[in-house]
Symmetry: C2
């Protein structure tokens, strides 16, 4: 872990200015804690008088200003900002301009408690677990997520990554194949479902195919209709919620 190049407790505005300048020049991560006032002009406009806040400028030019409470920053800018800083009579002025969104942020620091520029090494991949397996579990637990009267019979685990299927019957006893996608389903997903039905559809009886996903791509929708398949909108979030609401006993009964 690398030592920060510059980090100072209770720096003067001049010292802070140097740190800010260098951090901006080298696209590093910057933290400044101090007394400042803030003006924002863009989609809306805002003004915030003097107070002690935490300024965070990230490597990609994202800006966050945090007050002592709350999840949300009081002011911010998305990534891609260009910065200008200068020392004035009123204090250390830092301007962040977002060319893309034509917005600007102006901070004026009158006193600084702490300032540092950091070179953070962070390469790990963020993994959010709201998998298709989770969606499968939720549907097995609560089949009406697919449709009223749906009854799962067999759950399949495909070797190919990225989808999971469920066999079942609808309320009229017709066979149903459910294919789940965690994200927007595209043509490939439709074709996968179709192929699957083709493969097993040896009988003369019609087999319904339902693609379950948070969203259906437009072109996929056309293909879906052409192939006489169906779509059911279902988000991973809803599935996770379903799983959380269920008791462990119910889960075990279905998942074992």
């Amino acid at each position: 872990m690398e030592k920060p190049l510059n980090a100072t407790m209770k720096p003067s505005l001049e010292e802070t200015f140097k740190i800010v300048q260098e951090s901006i020049a080298k696209n590093k991560t910057l933290i400044v804690v101090g007394n400042c006032e803030i003006e924002y002009k863009g989609r809306a406009e805002s003004k915030l008088g003097l107070g002690e806040r935490i300024l965070l400028i990230k490597n990609d030019g994202a800006v966050l200003i945090h007050r002592p409470t709350g999840y949300e920053p009081v002011n911010w800018q998305p990534s891609g900002c260009i910065f200008h800083s200068r020392l004035t009579e009123t204090g250390l002025v830092i301007r962040a301009t977002n060319v893309k969104t034509k917005e600007s942020l102006k901070l004026t620091f009158t006193g600084v408690m702490f300032a540092t520029q950091l070179e953070l090494k962070d390469t790990s991949e963020f993994i959010l677990h709201a998998s298709e397996e989770d969606m499968q579990k939720a549907i097995l637990l609560k089949p009406e997520l697919v449709e009223e009267g749906f009854h799962p019979i067999v759950k399949e685990k495909k070797t190919a990554p990225g989808f999971v299927d469920i066999f079942g019957r609808d309320k009229y006893g017709r066979f149903v194949v459910v294919e789940i996608k965690r994200k927007t389903a595209n043509k490939d997903a439709v074709l996968q479902l179709w192929k699957y039905i083709q493969t097993i559809g040896e009988t003369e009886q019609h087999i319904r195919g339902i693609l379950v996903a948070p969203k259906l791509a437009k072109n996929a929708g056309r293909l879906l209709r052409e192939l006489n398949l169906e779509f059911k909108q279902l988000s991973p979030k809803k599935c996770i919620e379903t799983l959380r609401k269920s008791t462990s006993g119910e889960l075990l009964r279905y998942m074992k």
Copy 2:
């Protein structure tokens, strides 16, 4: 401006532990920069391997963990968390549990670049300018925001705070009174508009009354219909966008 009680460069895990403990006990603002891994369990679940990040714990128990890029924190918890921290063989573990949302966050720091607890004084009021005056300006600039064919004649500035009116005529030449609300319009807004029309409606000619607001409260809606008034949905955001798109020349012509 108060000096931070505890701020250390390259503190050991033991030193960091002390800072964290004290900060949590006294509900202060805490910043820890260091190498950590993160687990989240709640509405969804997530995992993030080791990497250098910025941890921010706020006075109200809000938690933010920021990677070197992007506006959004990689993991977080809304305000109201309860914290537990302890030193283990793997590192300094900080757990944030949100009882309200039944979510939890587990951070394990293996090395720390910087840690500080802060007592931030920040009492200024945040003022967002997307005022009714802005909405009025936007409508004067682009009357079709109210409806196709609307033509403003007079703009009124009422002394009572919280609303602005515009007089005009619709495409059939009928008189129109527009009342603007920046937020959801309630019964009072409807009654104000109605009273206004009553006051000026000396002629036998019908005067239309249009309430312009981002939203109409349900009860207000019923009253509106009973009084034969109308509603037009319009958000401050849309108005600001309209104003931003206009040239200063156009603005001057209308606003002077």
